[in-house]
């Protein structure tokens, strides 16, 4: 009996060590982007490479904030576009997810399938026609163009995820609300929305991230450098100053930082959100 416990313990240690090694290999590129962003220009090209910078320099970061091409402008643009797209997507998609979960209606299956199929469409399919449409509407070089197109990625995602979310909430709650004098609309805003807020926060965060990570739309629809997002900024960085990898990596870290923060913040909601139930049994 004692021997077996010991074996289990050993097994656990072996498996854990293998897992850690695998995680290190898989996540090495992420380590590398962070480390490289603190290296000097000379050290970036050093052979053999250094795994911990000999000289830590913050200038790759500080330099991004000065001058008229300051990263703050692109950061502001990215925030504006991603936030607007998130708000628009949620305003449209949260009620739709609820509607498709709760109401009997003709054409429901087709609606669901169309949302499903739009998720599979290539960006390039929409790019050319929308460029011409925005040109006609004189929306080119206006941040509304990427906001609208980014939302087409988020809307179907939010609709489909929240639909299953609303389906899982007990229908008795609504029936009870109706008996207490709620209309369909007030029972949606006062009962269903507060109950599903973990799901809404999760899908909202994802719709923010879709727009945050988009390159194709912002690069194609916006031409003035001062209007461009961070993804377009880092893309142009490459051509502008030759290849300064340490600065590009620092820019990349700043671009990924909000994603990591959201991810850390989000985990709680994914776990908490799925286990919360108002009525048991």
């Amino acid at each position: 009996m004692k021997k077996r416990v010991f074996n289990e313990k050993q097994k656990n240690i072996i498996l854990c060590s293998i897992a850690v090694v695998m995680a290190c290999i898989m996540l090495f590129p992420i380590y590398w982007i962070v480390v490289s962003s603190f290296k000097t220009n000379a050290e970036i090209f050093a052979s053999p490479p250094t795994f911990i910078p000999k000289v830590f320099t913050f200038s790759n970061y500080t330099e991004q904030f000065v001058g008229k091409n300051s990263i703050l402008i692109a950061f502001g643009n990215s925030c504006k576009i991603a936030t607007s797209s998130m708000v628009l997507s949620c305003l449209l998609a949260v009620p739709a997810g609820y509607g498709l979960a709760r109401f009997k209606m003709r054409g429901k299956k087709i609606f669901i399938i169309s949302f499903l199929v739009t998720q599979m469409l290539p960006v390039t399919l929409i790019l050319t026609p929308m460029f011409l449409v925005y040109k006609n509407l004189q929306l080119l070089d206006n941040s509304l163009a990427p906001i609208l197109s980014d939302s087409t990625i988020a809307v179907p995602f939010v609709v489909l995820i929240l639909r299953t979310y609303f389906l899982a909430l007990p229908k008795e709650l609504e029936d009870a609300a109706k008996i207490d004098g709620c209309t369909t609309f007030t029972s949606f805003t006062r009962i269903m929305l507060p109950l599903s807020y973990p799901g809404i926060i999760m899908t909202a965060a994802f719709s923010f991230l879709f727009a945050w990570g988009d390159l194709a739309y912002s690069l194609t629809f916006l031409s003035t450098p001062a209007k461009r997002t961070m993804t377009a900024g880092i893309y142009n960085f490459m051509g502008q100053y030759g290849i300064q990898w340490n600065k590009i990596m620092a820019y990349g870290v700043l671009l990924v930082l909000p994603v990591v923060l959201i991810f850390i913040f989000l985990q709680k909601y994914i776990i908490g959100g799925l286990t919360n139930g108002a009525v048991k049994g």
Binding site: A23, P49, G99, R102, R106, M120, P122, M249
Partner: protein, 302 residues
């Protein structure tokens, strides 16, 4: 009684439409309409020359004929398939291995699975630039590591040489896709009843027999949907290749998506770009129909 039922149904339907219609109209305007417009574009002559004209000339199948005469088109179709099949094979094998391994019960399994998802969340542009840096001939960590273990004697121009560029973008895309495969397959694994394994153990089946006789057959639905979804998501990849190689060197990584972009926004022959995008769409559409057939009566459309 029946009339009352019907009017109630109509009332409910009306309320339902109020909730659903805004999103539906939005998607019709910004996705549905462009798809149709794209289709129309592919039969007209829309380029820098004609863009300011009121009426764009209708030219029938001329765009399709010209696009298919272009050798780059054939290369890009071929490359798109190589890229897709290469990526999903690598992603799937590693993703399955990781899912199986992290499904064993040990302390770090859960947190490590969570950590691995990070690569899936990084914006593609950043991933593309990061790998471009790691592949580079001067200061690139991949060449340095391979040289330090004496596998190669001088740096390989991973993405600047036509022989290795496709492999390089496939590996990069796989790195992004592995967590996605792992997560979906983990869900599939957790649905397999433990009693099956217990019964097999009683019958004296070894690990390999259990894997091929229980795990694989039970995992089949999950495997199918991972592969089909993987195909759809990989087939349309744009930003990764656009940023890493922009189709080069000499078209060796040119995909249909990057080719369509180039036609529209570098050469400004919008109708040709639309034509290539349409061919890409047609192939994806067929695969999507297959996928919908797979999940027909399953959880998604309940």
């Amino acid at each position: 009684m029946k009339i009352k039922h019907t009017s109630e149904f109509l009332r409910e339907e009306r309320e339902g439409y109020i909730f659903v219609l805004p999103a539906l109209i939005f998607m019709l305007a910004f996705v549905g309409y462009p798809i149709i417009y794209n289709f129309i574009l592919s039969f007209r002559d829309v380029s820098v020359m004609t863009i300011s004209q009121e009426v764009k000339p209708f030219i029938g199948l001329k765009n399709y004929i010209e696009v298919f005469k272009d050798p780059t088109m054939k290369i890009s179709i071929w490359n798109t398939f190589v890229f897709t099949i290469g990526s999903i094979s690598i992603q799937f094998v590693i993703g399955l291995a990781l899912a199986l391994f992290l499904n064993l019960k040990f302390k770090f399994a859960q947190p490590i699975r969570g950590l691995m998802v990070v690569s899936y969340l990084i914006p593609m542009t950043v991933t593309a630039l990061l790998f471009k840096f790691m592949y580079s001939t001067s200061g690139g960590i991949i060449n340095e590591l391979l040289m330090s273990v004496h596998l190669i004697s001088k740096p390989i121009g991973w993405i600047i040489s036509g022989n290795t560029s496709m492999l390089s973008v496939i590996l990069t895309n796989s790195w992004v896709g592995i967590p996605f495969n792992m997560l979906l397959l983990t869900t599939g694994l957790s649905n397999i009843s433990y009693t099956l394994y217990e019964a097999a153990q009683v019958d004296g089946a070894n690990v390999i027999q259990r894997f091929f006789r229980i795990t694989l057959p039970e995992l089949k639905p999950a495997i199918l949907s991972v592969l089909v979804l993987g195909f759809i998501y990989t087939f349309k990849v744009f930003d990764l290749v656009f940023v890493m190689t922009n189709g080069g060197p000499v078209n060796s990584t040119e995909l249909m998506s990057t080719f369509a972009y180039k036609l529209s926004f570098t050469q400004f022959s919008f109708s040709k770009g639309a034509t290539v995008a349409n061919v890409l769409f047609a192939i994806l559409f067929c695969v999507s129909l297959g996928y919908l057939g797979l999940i027909k009566d399953e959880e998604v459309i309940g």
